[in-house]
């Protein structure tokens, strides 16, 4: 499953980058995120509650960042599993200045689902992923634009 898209935030690239690298702000923006903590190996441990159609559950996950080029791009590897199955994916996030003084975040990646989520929820997976991503960026940009609300 391919996930890709772009989102623009009316804030300078460095600011957006800072927020993107902060576990607290990410956790805050990610709906259903119950935990996002750095692990000793440099990755992040996450606990996420997601419902895909009839498959609702808590997923234990691991997020790893690689090829980090501040404030331009990084690669992200995500692995999560729960009673409903597993999700794994890999993608790239890159930031560029848009022509209105803001920042354009472009993301593209491949995700794989397995278990119940695949056999029961697959028709909804793509739509759910899009929804999760959109909600994330909306909440994320709110934070970036009004830091005090954080």
């Amino acid at each position: 499953m391919k996930i890709e898209g772009a989102y623009s935030i009316a804030a300078p690239r460095e600011t957006v980058w800072q927020y993107l690298m902060s576990p607290e702000s990410l956790a805050h923006a990610l709906l259903g995120c119950e935990k996002l903590e750095p692990a000793p190996d440099g990755s992040f441990q996450a606990v996420l509650k997601i419902g895909i159609g009839a498959v609702k559950g808590t997923y234990q996950g691991r997020i790893e960042l690689a090829d980090v080029v501040p404030p331009v791009s990084y690669r992200m590897k995500v692995e999560g599993k729960g009673a409903g199955g597993f999700v794994s994916g890999e993608g790239t996030l890159s930031l560029s200045a848009d022509n209105q003084g803001g920042t354009k975040i472009q993301y593209s990646g491949e995700a794989q689902v397995g278990g119940l989520i695949a056999s029961v929820g697959q028709r909804l997976v793509q739509a759910t992923a899009r929804q999760v991503v959109n909600q994330f960026f909306q909440a994320f940009s709110k934070q970036v634009l009004s830091p005090s609300a954080k």
């Binding site: 199955g85 397995g114 695949a118 056999s119």
Partner: protein
């Protein structure tokens, strides 16, 4: 006057209890102290099991035990495969995975708890740490060098290669006048999806050292033997009962790991253990059907006579062998010539392992694939030869007087009249008129298609020499002191209605009321021997065993009656509750001779008291029912939707004992075959995840999608059994799939279409209609 009973539309003995919900399926049995089992299944198509942590599950109150593959290793036998063929690779198939999982849905651990829901909740608490391994899903890629291996130990994914060759290929290949017509066909994977899922209760009594198993199975006797082997119990200590079974279609012609685990758990805990499969489990982990890729070519003379057929079959077996997995595609090779007298044949079958659930017998089991191959390529060839498909078929049928007909595939067809079936079909359907209508509609830009299928299939399985566990069947008939009759059959009907058919056979034989006969089956504690119900064998083989047991009893009764009537035993017939001379001048009541035989006061010397006889019938050959089907479809050019407008079927299943039951089999079979052509497709993604895991995603046919089926019959009896019965359980499914595809391709031919792979869903058709016309 005798009451005609064989050949009559007699209502089923089974129906009142089933319709009124007063009978019992496995899940209806509730035993004292019964525990419930649930499985944790692999979420990966291929992975190494690094660890299985069951502590959280074990701690839950009410959980009595949690079992993993390691717990069963060396203590519970492997899931059996009965198919034996030269060079077959048989990988170990443990009931619960050990070290590695090889398909999504493979059972990894079992929880046994006091409550069904608790067992399920606890199964979700089992933590399995997997290391994903490379997956292979596509069977053609699986046999390429460098493919990921399903079983590392086996060295490759090729389970077997089987070749079948007959005729003189040198002459054929040298003959440049022959036109070679080729096509690649994909026969997609299907879900049997019986209404009742699988289910088992294993109840071990430590005191008596007896294991009683209720299972939703088609083969209680074979299951009993296999469970005894797996558990190590003496077979005498095992009893298997198949109560009401809510559909199976071949999917319960099997021995499943879950059945083994239930027996193991019950022995370990000394309590009954029940497992009822959920629908999602059923879609994932009950065997699947079909899944072949066929490259076929035929060699046609300028006059339309087909001289040779070659086919390369790739059969996707899935990750492990179930009971008959590798044997199914070999039936495709056996029946690939269909009802045509093609003198030269070559078939190479490759059975291939992939990271998917095992395929195995599903209604038709290898023969729908054969019929699809031959009926599609005949249609394609007819078009290329500019001949009407009916005329082209007619040209290649053997003459009725040529039967029994030995084919280069090695089988001998018993009896047939293919010409008569096709003529009858074209007459009742108004074929010529439909062709004219098609011409007219085409001019208006409308799509109407006519699809023929003339099939022959192989039934009444079968001679023991060709069957893995024997092909005979057992029947016994006992006349009780009251004159009522008790019949036992080693078959295990599960919806087919043979309690009715068998009672008809016995009532007709003895000339007694049909209601005086009671038929039992499906309990190894009651029926001493049996093979089971599959391969359209129940009436032809099992019914014959009962018929022959009746004949034995009649001989004995005639010997007792003859001296009383002062005639020879051979002069007596059984009619209307009497044993009498043919002219009816001398007679004695049936009940009087029953009393004589059982109370044994004045039996002639040399006659044993009692009236109980058994017969084990060994069929000398298979039977070969046949028929001709016509599908008429309309295609909506706007949406691509295929509307099945009419369906005509002429089926000849030999002698018909109860036309209503035959109709039922044909109607249900047609729905399944048409379902494959138009809608059904069990889909895995490239990572081996099943995408059609529910009935929301898997397009199960519904009644409103079908027109009224115009069915009619013919009776060409077989000499293979004394009843003349051939079998009809799978005919509808076998004949209908190619008829519908031929019809759709016929409709699309004006758009330059030569072939479309199934299922013919609207999206696929719409895309074809909305792309530039091919050359």
């Amino acid at each position: 006057m005798a009451i005609a009973i064989l050949g009559e539309r007699i209502k089923r003995k089974e129906d009142p209890r089933l319709i009124q919900g007063r009978s019992h399926y496995v899940d209806d049995f509730k035993l004292d102290g019964m525990l419930h089992m649930a499985f944790a299944r692999s979420i990966y198509a291929h992975a190494r099991i690094k660890s299985v942590d069951v502590t959280a599950a074990e701690k839950m109150p009410g959980v009595m035990a949690v079992l993993t593959g390691a717990d069963l290793k060396g203590k519970l036998g492997l899931v059996p495969c009965a198919a034996g063929m030269e060079g077959l690779k048989v990988p170990d198939h443990p009931c619960l995975a050990i070290d590695e999982v090889r398909y999504a849905g493979e059972p990894v651990a079992a929880v046994i708890a006091t409550d069904r829901y608790l067992a399920r909740d606890a199964a979700e608490k089992i933590e399995v740490d997997y290391e994903p391994l490379p997956v292979v899903v596509n069977p053609e890629k699986a046999i390429e060098p460098g493919s990921p291996l399903v079983h590392q130990k086996l060295g490759d994914n090729l389970a077997f290669v089987a070749k079948l060759e007959g005729g003189d290929w040198k002459a054929i290949e040298a003959d440049t006048s022959l036109k070679v017509v080729k096509q690649r066909l994909v026969n997609q994977r299907l879900a049997p999806a019986s209404m009742e899922t699988r289910g088992v209760i294993a109840s071990y009594s430590p005191g008596e050292d007896m294991l009683t198993v209720w299972s939703s199975t088609q083969i209680p006797h074979i299951l009993k033997t296999q469970l005894a082997i797996m558990t190590g119990l003496d077979e005498a200590r095992c009893r298997v009962i198949a109560p009401e079974v809510g559909g199976a279609f071949g999917s319960k012609l099997n021995v499943y790991g879950e059945e083994g685990v239930a027996c193991f758990a019950s022995r370990m805990l000394g309590k009954p253990v029940k497992w009822i499969e959920g629908r999602r489990e059923n879609m994932l982990a009950t065997i699947h059907g079909r899944d072949q890729i066929n490259n076929v070519e035929i060699y046609v003379q300028p006059d339309g006579k087909v001289m040779g057929l070659k086919c390369w079959i790739i059969a996707d077996l899935g990750a492990y062998h179930q009971l008959l997995t590798p044997a199914i595609p070999t039936l495709t090779a056996l029946m690939i010539l269909g009802c045509y007298n093609i003198p030269n044949v070559f078939v190479e079958t490759k059975g291939v392992f992939t990271n998917k659930m095992a395929t195995d017998a599903y209604r038709g089991a290898g023969r729908p694939e054969a019929t699809y191959i031959i009926e599609r390529i005949m249609d394609i060839a007819a078009r290329e030869m500019n001949m009407d498909p009916a005329e082209f078929r007619m040209k290649n049928f053997p003459q009725p007087k040529e039967f029994p007909l030995a084919l280069p595939t090695g089988v001998t067809y018993d009896t047939a009249n293919y010409q008569k079936a096709l003529k009858k079909l074209t007459k009742i359907s108004g074929y010529a008129k439909l062709r004219r209508e098609q011409e007219k509609l085409r001019k208006k830009g409308k799509y109407l298609g006519l699809g023929l299928s003339t099939y022959v299939e192989i039934c009444a399985m079968g001679p023991s020499s060709r069957m893995p566990a024997g092909g005979w069947e057992f029947g016994s008939v006992r006349i009780d002191p009251t004159g009522k009759v008790t019949v036992l059959s080693g078959t295990s009907p599960h919806g087919q209605g043979e309690e009715t058919t068998f009672a008809q056979i016995v009532a007709e034989g003895f000339g007694i009321p049909y209601d005086d006969v009671t038929v039992f089956h499906g309990d190894t504690g009651m029926v001493p021997l049996g093979i089971g119900t599959f391969g359209s064998r129940t009436t032809a083989v099992g019914g014959t065993a009962i018929h022959n047991a009746v004949e034995k009893l009649k001989k004995k009764m005639a010997r007792i009656a003859a001296p009383k009537l002062e005639v020879k035993p051979g002069e007596l017939i059984f009619e209307s509750g009497k044993i009498q001379t043919k002219d009816g001048a001398k007679s004695v009541a049936f009940g009087d001779i029953v009393a004589e035989a059982i109370f044994a006061k004045q039996l002639p010397p040399g006659i044993e008291p009692g009236l109980a006889e058994q017969f084990v019938f060994e069929p000398p050959n298979y039977t070969f029912p046949f028929g001709a089907h016509l599908a008429v479809v309309e295609i909506d050019a706007e949406t691509g939707e295929v509307k099945l407008r009419n369906y005509y079927a002429v089926d000849d299943c030999g002698r018909v004992l109860n036309p209503m039951l035959v109709d039922g089999q044909i109607h249900g079979g047609l729905a399944q075959g048409i379902g494959q052509a138009l809608w059904e497709d069990h889909v895995y993604d490239e990572n081996g995840q099943l995408l059609t895991g529910t009935l929301m995603d898997y397009a199960m046919p519904k009644a409103h999608q079908f027109p009224w089926f115009e069915t009619s019959g013919m009776e060409t009896r077989t000499p293979v059994n004394p009843l003349g019965v051939k079998g009809v359980g799978e005919a509808g499914t076998i004949g209908s799939t190619p008829a519908v595809v031929n019809a759709v391709v016929d409709a699309l031919s004006q758009h330059g279409v030569r072939h479309v792979d199934m299922p013919l869903k609207p999206e696929k058709i719409w895309r074809i209609l909305n792309q530039p016309m091919s050359a």
